[in-house]
């Protein structure tokens, strides 16, 4: 395998144009998708996560890197599918009913996609029934719920209760997040995981899948 470190650097630097171009170049050179992802792209996003944790990167840098990751991932997807590689998991994500904030949720969605998950993004102000329908139609194994206001946090609880009432709660793991959400709240509403930051959401999702 040739050295495709430029791909890693483009993702860390948030350069979507270069990331996409290098991915195409690698495909043309006959590289396989999975090793490219594992050797260059996943480590790039890990580094981005580290830079964010130590406050060298902020939300804009995260968004740019996630976008560059996506630009590189898009041309690789058909190759992945053809080789029979399966996504790390399937996540239905949305901001709960009554809450219109979506920057954090969008960021988590991009980072999960970058982390190899298939993501079904339902948007903001999502009614509980929409989450239920999405789980049923897509067969997702994770539901990720976000709220940015303490006033809309009860909607997280209502959504989890609706999943239970519809009989789909046992089929999925539920993860919760958003600025005012805490571990204590996550425990109180019976979520399976809580993530304090967008970058740790990917780790949390991986852990949930591994735990089955």
């Amino acid at each position: 395998m040739a050295d495709w470190d430029r791909l890693r650097q483009a993702i860390i630097g948030g350069d979507a144009k270069t990331a996409g171009a290098v991915a195409h170049e690698a495909i043309a050179a006959g590289e396989e998708a999975l090793p490219l992802i594992q050797k260059y792209m996943v480590p790039a996003m890990d580094e981005v996560g580290r830079l964010y944790e130590c406050e060298e990167y902020f939300v804009p840098e995260l968004l740019l890197s996630a976008r560059a990751m996506k630009a590189a991932l898009d041309p690789l997807r058909p190759l992945l599918a053809a080789s029979g590689a399966k996504p790390a998991g399937k996540v239905v994500i949305g901001t709960v009913k009554g809450d219109l904030h979506d920057i954090g949720k969008n960021l988590v969605a991009s980072l999960l996609e970058g982390g190899g998950f298939e993501v079904i993004d339902l948007g903001a102000d999502v009614a509980p029934q929409k989450f239920i329908d999405a789980v049923e139609t897509t067969g997702a194994n994770i539901v990720a719920l976000s709220a940015l206001l303490t006033v809309t946090m009860p909607s997280i609880k209502t959504t989890i209760e609706a999943l239970k009432a519809a009989g789909v709660r046992d089929r999925v793991k539920v993860m919760v997040g958003g600025a005012p959400v805490t571990q204590q709240f996550a425990d109180q509403v019976g979520a399976d995981a809580y993530s304090e930051s967008a970058t740790s959401a990917v780790t949390a999702a991986r852990r949930l899948v591994a735990a089955g």
Binding site: P60, L63, L100, D125, T150, A179, P180, T182, F185
Partner: protein, 243 residues
């Protein structure tokens, strides 16, 4: 009695009016609205510093709502710590939790403005150090991240505007003229939202500085106790075994 009021500047005019009418002596510290953008933890640390440094008094009053958990974990020192049981300042400006809950339910997608929201908190960027990029202009983003990336980020950070339908201006009745309302109308028009005006109530804020703290609407934390989010209709409670 003598109170120390620590308040968000977003309530500046309303609080000044309430303090002027209070039967008690109230010392006031207004803190930057930008604190809110730093996130719950940083906000709490700063508020705790102010509580710790408050002079002798009969109670420390918080001119704050739970505000994204900014009050979560605050500890009362020598004097009781008093806070309204509200989710955010919009509820405080409306005068009750019930009015806010009802308005929120009946008017989904509403963005709120008041005098404080219109005139306070300009230039918050330095305080939040890029952590909260909302409000950054297109030219600032382009300068920092380049033309293409700057435009992309601007779209990401302004997309929320499409989710809102209405801008509601909460009028306190203290306004000197119609200039604030005009400003709010202008903003609604610019963003393509419907404009609505709502008469707020100063009742809750006046109760706070008057020392009238019914249990249903206020939490009074005794010295040594810690205030935490309760995640239920009480909104805040005293952490067990702390007081």
């Amino acid at each position: 009695m003598r109170f120390q009021l620590i308040s968000c500047e977003v309530l500046f005019r309303e609080m000044c009016d309430a303090v002027a009418r209070s039967p008690h002596q109230v010392d006031v510290q207004f803190l930057s609205k930008g604190l809110h953008d730093l996130g719950g933890k940083a906000m709490r640390l700063e508020l705790q510093k102010r509580i710790d440094g408050a002079g002798p008094c009969d109670a420390v009053l918080m001119g704050y709502a739970l505000c994204g958990n900014g009050l979560h974990g605050l500890t009362a020192r020598n004097a009781p710590l008093v806070a309204p049981r509200a989710h955010d300042c919009i509820a405080l400006l409306m005068g009750s939790r019930e009015s806010y809950a009802q308005y929120f339910e009946e008017n989904p997608g509403t963005y709120f403005r008041s005098t404080g929201w219109l005139e306070r908190g300009k230039g918050l960027q330095q305080l939040s150090m890029g952590k909260n990029p909302v409000g950054t202009t297109l030219s600032e983003l382009i300068e920092r991240y380049g033309e293409e990336n700057g435009r992309y980020l601007f779209d990401e950070f302004t997309r929320y505007q499409q989710h809102y339908r209405q801008l509601t201006y909460i009028e306190s009745g203290l306004e000197p003229d119609a200039s604030f309302e005009r400003q709010a109308r202008g903003e609604a028009e610019e963003k393509g939202w419907a404009f609505s005006k709502l008469r707020g109530s100063l009742h809750w804020l006046r109760q706070l500085v008057n020392g009238d703290w019914p249990e249903a609407d206020f939490l009074v934390v005794p010295p040594g106790g810690t205030m935490v989010a309760s995640f239920d209709e009480r909104i805040i409670r005293i952490e067990e075994n702390t007081a």
